[in-house]
Every structure is written in structure tokens, then in C-alpha cells.
């Protein structure tokens, strides 16, 4: 039995966005939505995290930061791009400094579009991400067993 579904710890990073989605992510932690019900904790530390939530676009300045956070997370891990800016670049797509969505920097598992995303959609997305996390955990286990 795997416990990844029961205790997903998240890390949240805000790229260059209007902070709308950023605030909605934090709203999930408030008494109204209370994601700790599902064992979700906002760790703020890549080494403790299982789910990487990114809001906002990837630009030349935060590219390395996002890659660094991703590389510091221990396996198994999933990435969720939150908001239309994170999924595709949104209205900032054509800006001279913007590379595009999060998938231009690191592999993304779940796309959660919206402007701004509603907390319900974020929770739904994270739950979908947990399914991916579970699969990755199983894959890691079989890889270890065969090695």
C-alpha cells in the first residue's frame, strides 16, 4: 500500500504572474477550503515536497529557479501548472522576456487552467496529480526491484 495519496506535501512557487492564482493557492489553506483535511501541507521546502505547484509564466529570470527547485525535490514527484499563464503563457505569452508556460522549463504532469483559478479547481487538480504521483511511486518501486 502506498501512502502518497494520503499525505501529499506541496511546495508553491509563483513565477511572473499577477498574483491572482498565487492568492487562490493560499486560499486553499484557509478555514473555508482547509486542504489539510486531505493531509496536504504547504512545506515551502523542495526537499520535503511531493507536489510542485507553479503559478505564473516562466521567464528568463526564474527559469533557473524553477529548474533548481524541481531538481531538489526527491522522487517520486509531480508538477502542477496552475492558471492559464503557467499552462501556456496566457496574455504574457508574447512578452519579450517570457519563455511561455511551465512546460518550457520542466516536465508538467497536470495543467489547471483558469484566470484566476478557483480554489475548487486547484484542489481538483491536486487530487488528479495524486493519481499521477501514485503511478510514479509504483514505477519507482518496480525500478528499484529490478535494479
Amino acid at each position: 500500500m502506498s501512502f502518497f495519496k494520503k499525505s501529499p506535501w506541496v511546495i508553491h512557487y509563483d513565477g511572473s504572474s499577477c498574483n491572482g492564482c498565487d492568492i487562490e493557492v493560499l486560499a486553499c489553506l484557509t478555514p473555508l477550503y482547509d486542504i489539510e483535511r486531505f493531509g496536504i501541507i504547504n512545506t515551502g521546502n523542495p526537499k520535503h515536497a511531493d507536489v510542485f505547484l507553479i503559478t505564473g509564466t516562466i521567464n528568463e529570470q526564474n527559469l533557473e529557479v524553477v529548474r533548481n527547485i524541481y531538481n531538489q525535490m526527491p522522487d517520486p514527484k509531480v508538477v502542477a501548472a496552475i492558471g492559464i499563464c503557467a499552462t501556456s503563457g496566457g496574455i504574457f505569452r508574447e512578452c519579450y522576456n517570457v519563455k511561455g508556460g511551465v512546460d518550457t522549463a520542466i516536465p508538467v504532469d497536470i495543467y489547471i487552467p483558469g484566470c484566476a483559478v478557483r480554489p475548487e479547481a486547484i484542489i481538483d487538480g491536486v487530487v488528479a496529480a495524486l493519481g499521477v504521483l501514485e503511478k510514479k511511486a509504483a514505477a519507482l518501486k518496480t525500478m528499484k526491484a529490478s535494479a
Binding site: 501512502f3 499525505s7 493531509g39 515551502g44 526537499k47
Partner: protein
Amino acid sequence: MKTALCVVAWVVIAPFLGGLLAGVDRIITARMQSRVGPPLLQPFYDVLKLFGKQGVAVNVFQNYYMVCFLVFVIVTGALFFSGGDILLTIFALAVAGVFFALGAFSPNSPYSNIGAERELLQMMSYEPILIIAAIGMFMVTKSWHVHDIAGFQKPLFVFLPGVFLAFLFVLTIKLRKSPFDLSTSHHGHQELVKGATTEFAGPSLAVIEIAHWYENVLLMGFVYLFFAFNWVVAIPAVLVAYFIEIFIDNTYARLTWHFTLKSSWIVAGVCGVVNIFLIAFLVK
């Protein structure tokens, strides 16, 4: 034989008790913030998950130090619950603390280094009161052994009210709760990230968590000693003490290490030492 049974019971039962205590803690904390909170068994899910994660380590020593931390916490508890010498227990606990600080120093990350330094400062803050508590218990019961102290027929709390208050004060430091969660930062995403535990991932973080459960049960054992004359009084007293700690945790922001050191030494001096002097004059 009885001693061996006590030790085995401690090693096997304490992590379950500690995990349940942590679960209850998280639910009560959530209710205080008008949230629903996680399931009761959440701390166990967390630890079991952490064992399934990849263990990322900066150097070969850091995980070894944390295993030493766990081993020494277990040894400390074994000494305590088998009725051994209370002074030895306190010093063994200090050794465990030193291993924790060494582990936090070893990865050279600025966050975990600050956490380790603060851990040492915290030890400076709480050690005097632990020793004063041991001396107080000796002066009343005329024995250094936990076995005799627990078997003392009169309520220790009545003789040592000042010492007990001072002990409650440092209990907050030892349980790593606000306002004294200086070294590990009870909640992440703050200036300290996760302090001393920042650089520990997966299984080694699980080891730290389990050691912390053991430590909490041991500290509740210390609280129990003050009321050990009657377990019907003692067990509610322990639970009330823990509830007070949760309440304080939720109502105070983190303080600086300057204030922690100063205030805990002042409390040790005013409540602890005065109490000891009174005992020396009054109890013959």
C-alpha cells in the same frame, strides 16, 4: 525481568502513543483555527510516505547523525521508563540533542546551520531547568531514581510548584512549539524554511519525526512524575499540560533566541531556584 519488560514496552508502544499525540495535536490545532483538520492517523501516513521517498543527502554523515539522535532518544527513554537515574536520563537526552545539532550542522546549508545554532541555544535555555527539576525531586524524595520518585506517596507537585511551572515553560522549547520553535520552525514557508531539518529528505526526515514522537512521550513521562502519587490525577494532568502547550502554540508568534534564553533563565532562577531554597529550609 520487570525492567526488561518496561524497556520493551517503551520501545514498542511509545512511537504509537507519540504519533497519536501528534495526530490529536493537529486536529485540536485545526479546530482552534476553525478548520476541520487532518485524520487522526495523519502523522503515521506522513512517516510511512516519507519512507517511500527517495533519500537525498548532501553528505554521507548527515543521515547517520540522525539515526544516532533516534538511538539516543530511545536509550534515554529506556533509562527513564526502567526507573533508572534521572540525572543520567537528562544527560543522555542532552547527548541526543547534540547529535541532532551535529546532523543539522553537517550539510552546510545556511538554513540548517542557523537551525543547528539555535538548537544549541535552546539546549542552553532548557538544561538548567531540567537539572533543577531533578535536584528538586531528589530533595523531596531523597532518591535520584525514577523508580523511587514515581513510587513517592505524596504529590510532588505540592512540594515543587515553582519547579513545575518552570518545567512547563521549557516544555514548549522541548516540544518544538511556538513561541520557541526557533530551530525547526513548526510551520514551513517562513524565514527559516524548516531550520535544522531543511536538508533532510525522505527516510531520514521520517527518522527525525519518529525520534520526536519518542521525545514527546518521554517529556510527558516527566510531567507524569510530578503527579505520580495517583495515576487517576496524573494522566488528566499530563493531557491538560499538553493541551496548554497546544494553546500556547496557537496564540503566540515565534520569539527571538535572545528572549528565549533570557526568559527561561529568569524563570529557572525565580521559580526553580527559589522553590529549591524553600524546600531546603522547610523539608527536613
